[in-house]
Structures are given as C-alpha cells and as structure tokens.
Amino acid sequence: MPFCARLTLRTGNLALADMHRYLLAVGFAVACTPVLAQSTSDEITFLSCQMCHGQTDSAGMMPVIQGKPYEGLVQSLASFSGQNPGTTIMHRFVGGLTPEERDSLARYISGLEGVSR
C-alpha cells in the first residue's frame, strides 16, 4: 500500500518532516513513497500535548515545546519517568509511550515551527 509524504512525516524523520512542510506550503500533491507503517503517529499524539502546551504564544505556565531542541525534549521525557520527576502531571503520562515513541515524538516536536513567547 503506498503511503503519501504526509504519512512519512510520522516516521519522525526530520528531513522528511521539513520536506513535508515545504510541500504542504506550496500545495503540491506528491508521489507516494512506501514506508513502514507505525503503530502510532507523532502528529496525532501531539494533538494531546498541544491542548496544554499551546500551539501559539498564548499565556500560561505550561512551556511552549514546539521547535525546542530535540535533545532537551527527549531528556525531559526520560526524566519524567524517573524517581523524582518534579512534575505534577507529566510523569503520569510518559509511561504510556514506548521509548521509541518518546524519541520519535521529541524529534517531531523539535521539527515543528517554533513559537516565541
């Protein structure tokens, strides 16, 4: 089954993510590249993240995470599953993601256009 570029984004590959954004921006339909089907999509999982972390520069205590460096994001996600997470909510969530999903999600979020605040 051929998957479109929109789906290859969900592999968490940054280069492909950038290409996808470019293609979406200019509005081209693209030829499909076969990729391995993933059990979950970063783009869909991120919907839940953005309900608190915002997609825009709205005010709030939850930090904006879009476009933040991958290393920091993946480290934070790992620390939330540790002994003293120092968070009120995040440690209750991260156990629901496999280490691969955490890594892929961090890559996806870091590849998104950043917002300033």
Binding site: C4, I44, T45, S48, S58, F93, G95, G96, L97
Partner: protein, 424 residues
C-alpha cells in the same frame, strides 16, 4: 503568519453564510466536504484541526448559537471568581481559518441521503459528518421536575443563562442558608464537576456567608478524586460540606421546586438554593437517527469514531461511548483532533493512523487549590480505546499547599491554551 490561498480567502469571505447557500450537492466542485454539528469542544477542535491539515477541504460547522460558553471554569463564574464573559467565545477565529460557520439548529440527520436538515428547512449535504452535540438533560426522569422549572432549581450543567442564574441565587441566599446539590449516577458529563462546584461555592460562602451549609445528595456511593476532594474540603472548609452517598439516601424519588425540597427514599432535604443536576443522555438528534442503537449513548468504532449504524458519520465527545475516556472537554477536544485526522485520511483514500490520546481533568477546590486526574489511552488489539495500565491517576493526597497552588495555576494555563486552540 501563513498566507491564505485564493481559495481559502474565498472560504473566509463566505463564512457565516446561511444554510441555503450551502445546500449544494456534496463534492460539487470536487472538494471533499465535511460537515460538523456542534461548535463546542469536540466540534470546534475537529473543525480547526481539519482546516489546518487539509486546507482544500470544505469544512462547515453547524452550531446553535453565535456564542459558546464553556462548562470548564463555569464553576469559577458561579463562585463569583470570573466574569461570565471570560468563559464565552465566538466563532470569528474559526471563520478566519476558513471554517464556514452556520448558526442554526440541526433537527434531523438523514444519514442515508447524507444531509443534515436544519430547523429552517434547509439541507446541508456532506461527504462525511462529524457530530459532537454534547448532552441532553433528562428533566422528566425526576418526578416533580420539568424543563419549565429549571429556573427554580437550576442545573447549570450547560453553561449559559443557567450559570448566571445559579451564581445569582447563591449570592442572594440568606445568611446561614442551605445549598442542596443533587448529583446523578454515572454516566454524566464531567464526573468531578459537581464536587468542584461544591468546593468553589464553599469558597464563596466562606467569604460571604460563613454559616451557610452545603449538602450533596448523590446518586452514587463514590466519586472521582474523592479522597482528594474530601481532604481539601476538611482543610479549606471544615464542617461546611456534607456528602450524602446513595446508600445513605436511597435515591431521589421526587422534587418540589416550589418548596425547594429534594425527597429521597430515606429523607427529605430542604434547601434555600437547590442545584438539581438531572441524569443525561446523547441528544435526541442522534438517537432518532439511530446512532444510539438500543441505548442512550452512541457506540462507535473507537479507532475511527465512525458509527456502526451509519457509515460516514463520526460521533465524539460527551454523546459517544469512547472507551475508557471520560466525558470531559479535554477528551472531546483531543477526540475532535484525532477524528479530523481520521476523516482526512479516509477522504484521501488512506488508512487512518492511530495516536496516543491523553486527558486531564483539573478541578479547582478553591481558586488557588487545584487537583487533577489524568489518563493515557490507546486503541488495543480488540479496537477498544483502553486506559494504559500503570499510567494516569490522580494528584497525591497529603501534598503541600505549594503543590495545590501550582496545580491551580496549571489548570488556568490549560484553560487559556485550550480555548485559544479552539476559538483563538
């Protein structure tokens, strides 16, 4: 800032068109056409997300009123801590994103003909339909109660005039009076909502009516975040709130809106103000279209939100049975976003993808005292959206005041971000 294409600009300029202009047959211009009924948490999120990922789709949002007041934070309005305007939003933000807004009441879903019939008789055609109309209150399930009596014993379980009315009744209550709240058995919209309300009303009384009492007449024995709520009530409002579980009241058998009494199998409770929250179900609009099957809530394919009773119709939010997810605004918004992706994929002829879904229900027991329950949900091998074992759960009991203060701040931040996503 993204530049709008000519097509999007056209869509924006035709926003707020009337139903009749939209009655063109679906796919007339070869553009997929998605109609969404309900401009609350689920519907607004679906509309916004769909326009974002598929700028070439026609997205039509049908909703009853030009303004939407959120139930989240309506308890802060009732407690006099926020103005009503602060929980009320319009649809200009969605219109600017190219969502075509139709203000009006949908009265029939003709699922075989793929049209939504509006109250004024116009028909809106769709390729795929998303419905998130919330709940309907079963007023007459309680002997003595009736929709016409809702101003005498407000429910305030749909935000709007009822919210303001209950706030004003509480503010005008005599010194040392009793506030009675009748809470239904599960399932109902927002499991911790009544207990959040009790705490915030207690906060108001503590400042303005310190000898007042609050009695919760419950239709069940235990409730969401119970240990946290009772700990907070004892700490913040000692002696003010009495919770009467079902096993101690035997269930409400009658109310008298004139005398302001709630009679249960074992006892009659008299109030100066009575907040009667009736049992609930999916709206008649969905049930009469057969989307509830034999029941009162709508079963769905939990991976795609599609109704097993009507192909091409997706149900989400409070009206649907969405696996382990609670009936919350957070859940409905996440479901709206996921459903937008599903519908986009299906209309492009692609297989829909899955994600990990989250929910957090924050409750404010006082304006600066927050508690939460969180959940992580994934579709399992049987296609059920199940809560992931070992994840989620509530805030700890016995936490410091600082912890509660920070959860209250997070609750406010969540609300600001969520409403910006939906309506900003």
């Amino acid at each position: 800032m993204k530049r709008f294409s000519r097509r999007e600009t056209l869509a924006i300029s035709t926003s707020f068109v009337t139903g009749s202009l939209l009655a063109a047959p679906a796919k007339a211009q070869g553009r997929p056409r998605v109609v969404i009924v309900g401009g609350g948490f689920g519907g607004a999120s679906a509309a916004r997300t769909l326009r974002q990922i598929e700028p070439d789709f026609d997205v039509i949002l049908i909703t009853e009123a030009a303004q939407f007041s959120t139930c989240p934070f309506s308890n802060m309005v009732i407690a006099g801590e926020r103005p009503f305007e602060a929980i009320t939003f319009g649809y200009d933000g969605l219109a600017a994103r190219g969502v075509q807004i139709v203000i009006g009441r949908a009265i029939e879903l003709q699922t075989s003909g793929q049209v939504v019939v509006m109250e004024d008789g116009t028909k809106v055609a769709y390729d795929r339909l998303i419905v998130s109309p919330g709940i309907e209150l079963k007023y007459t399930d309680i002997p003595g109660y009736d929709e016409a009596l809702q101003d005498r014993m407000p429910h305030a379980w749909k935000a709007g005039a009822q919210t303001v009315l209950l706030r004003d009744q509480i503010a005008a209550m005599r010194q040392g009076g009793t506030f009675v709240m009748s809470v239904p058995n599960n399932p109902y919209r927002c499991p911790p909502g009544p207990y959040e309300r009790a705490g915030l009303v207690a906060h108001f009384f503590k400042k303005n009516n310190p000898t007042a009492k609050i009695i919760i007449v419950d239709g069940k024995d235990s409730f969401s975040k119970q240990a946290l709520f009772t700990e907070a009530w004892d700490h913040l409002y000692p002696g003010m709130i009495t919770h009467v579980p079902f096993s101690d009241n035997g269930g409400v058998i009658e109310v008298d809106p004139e005398a302001l009494t709630v009679t249960t199998a074992f006892e009659t409770f008299a109030g100066d103000v009575v907040n009667l929250i009736p049992p609930q179900r999916a709206p008649q609009l969905l049930l009469q279209a057969g989307l509830g099957g034999d029941g009162e809530w709508c079963p769905i394919d939990q991976a795609t939100f599609e109704s097993p009773f009507a192909p091409g119709v997706h149900v989400l939010g409070d009206a649907a049975i969405v696996g382990d997810m609670p009936k919350s605004g957070f859940s409905a918004s996440v479901q709206g976003g996921v459903c937008a992706h599903v519908v986009a994929a299906l209309l492009q002829g692609e297989p829909p993808q899955q994600g990990v879904l989250l929910n957090t229900c924050y409750s404010l027991v006082g304006p600066e005292y927050g508690i939460s329950v969180a959940g992580v949900y994934r579709v399992n091998a049987e296609g059920r959206l199940k809560s992931v074992e070992g994840t989620g759960g509530t805030s700890p009991t016995g936490a410091s005041d600082d912890f509660r203060v920070s959860e209250a701040a997070y609750a406010k931040s969540w609300y600001a971000n969520m409403t910006t996503y939906l309506f900003g």
